[in-house]
């Protein structure tokens, strides 16, 4: 048996973080999607000690962690300082995006606020998959800005061709549509790594935080 790879970020239980952070991350809380269906937010997060760590940590050959955690002033204040937290599913998203990047053959730029953003972020809507770290917004691929039907639909089709099960937001100008970027997501995937801390009470964490 070979030596096991040690992922450099610690897994933390969001329910054990300090209150201000916990309130912003809402670990394990129930939120509703646009159709009113209940969706449970992630409970386990990777702890990112510093921006330097996020810059250094390559999740794939072409994507580093920092690209998935850029958020602006509308992010909850408690989440703007390090250590920062990202749902563990980010390590599943990155290889998918790497596959997409190889298919398009050019740089794929994840937008600010377009990777992980917390459920408390000012632009997070109902049960946005961005709060699961399973979605990305892409404004630009190579030198092409994805701001018209042709570009958005062309790259959405390429994504669907290489990423089974990926959802691409349809082009359009109304609610639930996109007209100025490509949105890819894998839905409400929750990742609990094997070294995630145990729940000391033995209580189903999802029951414990249901609201």
């Amino acid at each position: 048996m070979g030596e096991s790879y040690h992922f450099p970020l610690a897994v933390v239980d969001g329910l054990r973080l300090e209150k201000a952070v916990r309130d912003a991350l809402k670990p394990g809380a129930i939120v509703r999607d646009d159709e009113g269906r209940a969706r449970r937010l992630p409970r386990y997060f990777y702890e990112i000690p510093s921006w330097d760590d996020a810059m250094r940590l390559k999740l794939t050959p072409d994507f580093a962690l920092w690209e998935f955690i850029q958020t602006d002033v509308r992010e909850a204040e408690a989440l703007r300082a390090f250590p920062r937290y990202v749902p563990c599913a980010v390590t599943l998203l990155a290889p998918s995006l790497q596959r997409f990047r190889e298919a398009v053959g050019s740089f794929v730029h994840i937008a600010a606020n377009g990777g992980y953003r917390s459920p408390s972020h000012g632009v997070s809507g109902n049960a946005s998959p961005h709060a699961w770290a399973t979605a990305v917004n892409i404004y630009r691929i190579g030198d092409t800005f994805l701001d018209d039907r042709e570009a958005i639909e062309r790259y959405a089709a390429m994504a669907r061709a290489v990423l089974p099960g990926v959802w691409t937001r349809p082009f359009g100008w109304g609610r639930g549509l996109t007209d100025d970027h490509l949105h890819l997501d894998f839905g409400y995937v929750v990742s609990i790594p094997r070294d995630a801390p145990a729940d000391p009470a033995g209580v189903d964490p999802e029951v414990a935080v249901a609201c």
């Binding site: 602006d72 002033v73 730029h109 937008a111 600010a112 630009r140 007209d179 100025d180």
Partner: protein
């Protein structure tokens, strides 16, 4: 006290004669320049002298509305909602004041390409404010207004009792324009706004100084500063669309306290000589204040 000073200045024959000469000069300019209308307001912080010419007339604000948005942004900074170095996602998608329909700022109608090049990335609030003022970036303007909200800007104007600035929407909102929903200003309103900043009373001395620094970085200098001596510094904001050309700012002569001036002009779309007219008025005001300062 300022009111008493103004009254005493108004009664001073040196000032009233100078004001009469300036009024006659503006009437002639209004006739000869081809402008549909001129509005001018001046407030001299050194003497308390105040001059008004059609100063209560409403004009389409064009980019002078960015002065009000600047005040709103610094109100948000003052209240701790944002910091100057806070980062904001650059996205070119806004909601019209009419029906909430989405619209964009066309890159080829914007004087500043740097903000458009940052779409998808983040810029600091201070960088966006500088682009909004110094190069009149429409994209930066709408991003900042979107962040702080129309209410914040309106409340900031109300906080300082500025009545001659009426903000209803962002810029480049064609649908709102077609429905007659426009931002409006009077010369008196812009002078009131700039007077608050020039007196360093806009929230704090430090924040007022930061706003003045941005206004000093103005890159469009064919209006108020164009015919003033090189040693005179001007912190100002221009505004121009097809039918109006404006400039409003704080003028700092080297040897005296500053004065505040707003020159608003309205034209037919084919009208020419706009900047020259503003520069001429600015020069006339400078000369007037220099003369009365020297004893007439």
């Amino acid at each position: 006290m300022p009111e008493l000073i103004e009254q005493s200045v108004a009664l001073d024959p040196t000032y009233s004669e100078a004001a009469d000469r300036l009024r006659a000069r503006l009437q002639k300019l209004e006739r000869d320049s081809g402008a549909r209308a001129l509005g001018v307001a001046v407030y001299d912080t050194a003497s308390g002298f105040s001059f008004r010419y059609n100063a209560e007339r409403w004009f389409h604000a064009a980019s002078t509305i960015k002065l009000a948005i600047l005040l709103g942004v610094y109100s948000a900074i003052h209240r701790g909602w944002v910091l100057p170095h806070s980062r904001l996602h650059v996205r070119n998608r806004f909601m019209s004041a009419v029906s909430g329909a989405p619209f964009r700022v066309a890159a080829d109608r914007d004087a500043n390409a740097q903000v458009h090049a940052a779409i998808g990335k983040m810029l600091r609030i201070s960088e966006l404010a500088r682009h909004m003022i110094a190069t009149s970036s429409n994209l930066a303007t709408n991003l900042l207004l979107d962040l702080v909200g129309l209410d914040t800007v309106q409340q900031s104007l109300a906080e300082f009792s500025i009545e001659g600035v009426d903000i209803r929407r962002g810029v480049e909102d064609e649908r709102a324009f077609e429905h007659g929903i426009n931002n409006r200003v009077t010369a008196a309103g812009l002078v009131d706004l700039l007077h608050v900043i020039a007196d360093r009373c806009a929230f704090s001395r430090e924040l007022s100084d930061q706003m003045l620094e941005l206004l000093h970085a103005q890159e469009f200098r064919s209006g108020i500063p164009a015919r003033l001596p090189a040693a005179v510094r001007v912190a100002h904001k221009t505004g121009e669309i097809s039918t109006v050309a404006h400039d409003a700012g704080v003028v700092y002569p080297p040897d005296r306290k500053p004065y505040v001036i707003a020159v608003l002009t309205e034209w037919s779309p084919e009208g020419s000589g706009r900047s020259a007219t503003i520069a001429e008025i600015s020069h006339s005001v400078y000369e007037l204040l220099a003369q009365v300062n020297d004893g007439g």
